[in-house]
């Protein structure tokens, strides 16, 4: 069981037997008033979205999803293809179902595919991935010791902010839950 205060972006909960994913989450609280948890929820089966505000007394069950380890093979247009590591069966997810995980789909990466009544619905990527920076502005040394970050693009096409000393061709680690830079990876 989850309490409303456990809600966060990406959490999957069950409402009236359907699995939902929290797509947006915000904690709201007037100073003297009670805490509210404002969420955007997406039904993982039919894709319907709605906004709902919960109070701290509200409780949720975990969505009944099965998770199978699969390998990412390729994508073509809107279809993302994965192969089950045990049955070698191929399954397809739409771009919408893949969601932000598409930023972290390295070739042949092993992921968890979420199934509800044997239908693929969504994906979990590893919490950390190492990727190569494919494009970065050069760092003007001595420019400033302080302050700034700069945008880079990595091999999956994803763009993020990193410290200014990161150069093109370097490998960096990303936390896929936040999409943020974690560290430079040597070698």
């Amino acid at each position: 069981m989850f309490a409303a205060s456990d809600l966060r972006k990406g959490l999957r909960i069950k409402i009236e037997n359907d699995p939902y994913i929290v797509t947006e989450f915000n904690f709201v609280k007037p100073g003297k008033g009670q805490a509210l948890y404002r969420c955007k929820l997406k039904n993982m089966v039919n894709g319907n979205q709605f906004e709902r505000t919960f109070r701290s007394v509200d409780m949720f069950e975990t969505a009944d999803l099965q998770e199978n380890k699969m390998q990412y093979l390729y994508h073509e247009g809107d279809k993302y293809c994965f192969m089950d590591n045990e049955s070698y069966e191929q399954v397809f997810l739409t771009e919408d179902q893949v969601g932000e995980a598409k930023n972290f789909l390295l070739d042949n990466i092993e992921v968890e595919i979420l199934l509800f009544e044997n239908k693929p619905l969504g994906i979990s990527v590893p919490n950390f991935i190492d990727v190569i920076v494919t494009s970065a502005e050069p760092w003007a040394r001595g420019d400033s010791v302080s302050g700034n970050t700069k945008p880079v693009t990595v091999q999956t096409g994803y763009q993020l902010q990193v410290p200014p000393f990161i150069e093109e061709g370097e490998k960096i680690r990303i936390d896929t839950r936040t999409g943020e830079y974690i560290t430079r990876v040597k070698g």
């Binding site: 205060s5 915000n26 609280k29 007037p30 009670q34 805490a35 509210l36 505000t53 990193v162 430079r184």
Partner: protein
């Protein structure tokens, strides 16, 4: 796994400089007006019982949720104008505008009411703006001007009718006051210029004095800027019997919903009959820094968050 934390801290330099400059301007403002800066304990035995504010337990006592009770004991002892900038702690409050450990500015005046504090707010924030050489800042709607005074005042009752099409009594009866306030009213407040939302229902103002001739209404206001709650102020309740009843009511409500019930702050209640008519206010320093820095997230104006420790 080693994680680079330093670069994120380094990237905060501009915001932290702005914050420090802002706090310096706040201190100068109060010094020029002959307010005494005080420090009161962060670790206390009995926080003010409020239905929806949870204190962090620490060593059998609690971390303060506000310095309010000690500040008022100083008023009762004869101090006339006092202020404090301090850390406060509220359990499980975490979001774009909330940190469980945050910085409060509180100031109090004897022989004053909440109307005096509205003027203080106008002058304080205008004086910070002049320190930065600005007349306002960028907001969701474009530009928000803070130097034109006085700022608009709207009662909670009028704001609910105007922005939500329902009365406060309807919202309270349907048990949706906070939902309507945060979804329909707050986003419309202080959009082009700051606004005071004032005269709250009695049941939402545990430590405020009631308005003369309007027993259901408390002399309380909240300052809103760009849809964000910045400060909360009262004409202080000085009737010890009434204060005890409200504390007991809040404690009962806490007990019913399974929240920790705190011991009553007896020394505070004992001192209350000596407190002259007074007014006090708590202002969120982090949020004010967000506005002047033009940042939408509270994490952007502090060096550390709980998650980064």
């Amino acid at each position: 796994m080693t994680i680079d934390h330093s670069w994120k801290l380094a990237a905060r330099l501009d915001e932290l400089r702005l914050r420090a400059r802002m706090i310096k301007a706040v201190r100068r403002f109060f010094q020029e007006r002959d307010f005494l800066e005080v420090e009161t304990p962060i670790l206390i035995p009995a926080p003010a019982p409020e239905a929806h504010i949870d204190a962090v337990a620490a060593g059998g006592w609690f971390l303060q949720t506000s310095p309010e009770l000690c500040m008022k004991r100083l008023l009762a002892a004869g101090y006339e104008r006092i202020y404090q900038i301090c850390k406060c702690f509220r359990e499980k409050e975490r979001g774009e505008r909330h940190l469980p450990e945050f910085t409060i500015l509180e100031w109090y005046r004897t022989n004053a009411d909440y109307l005096t504090l509205m003027r203080d707010c106008e002058e304080l924030i205008a004086s910070i703006a002049s320190e930065f050489g600005v007349s306002g800042f960028a907001s969701r709607q474009g530009k928000l001007v803070i130097v034109d005074r006085p700022w608009e005042r709207i009662t909670v009752g009028d704001a609910f009718v105007r922005y939500a099409g329902m009365t406060v009594s309807e919202a309270l009866a349907k048990d949706c006051f906070e939902e309507v306030l945060t979804a329909a009213v707050e986003p419309r407040l202080g959009v082009d210029a700051p606004v005071f939302l004032c005269d709250y229902p009695r049941e939402l103002s545990a430590l405020a004095r009631l308005k003369e001739g309007e027993p259901g209404i408390a002399e309380r206001f909240e300052l809103y800027i760009d849809g964000m709650e910045i400060a909360n102020a009262f004409s202080e309740l000085t009737d010890a019997g009434e204060q005890r009843r409200r504390f007991e009511e809040a404690s009962r409500e806490r007990g019913q919903k399974g929240s920790c019930v705190y011991p009553l702050p007896e020394l505070f209640l004992e001192s209350l009959p000596q407190m002259p008519p007074s007014a006090g206010i708590a202002l969120g320093v982090d949020r004010l820094a967000m506005l002047f820095a033009g940042r939408g997230h509270i994490d952007d104006v502090v060096a550390f968050t709980p998650e980064s420790l």
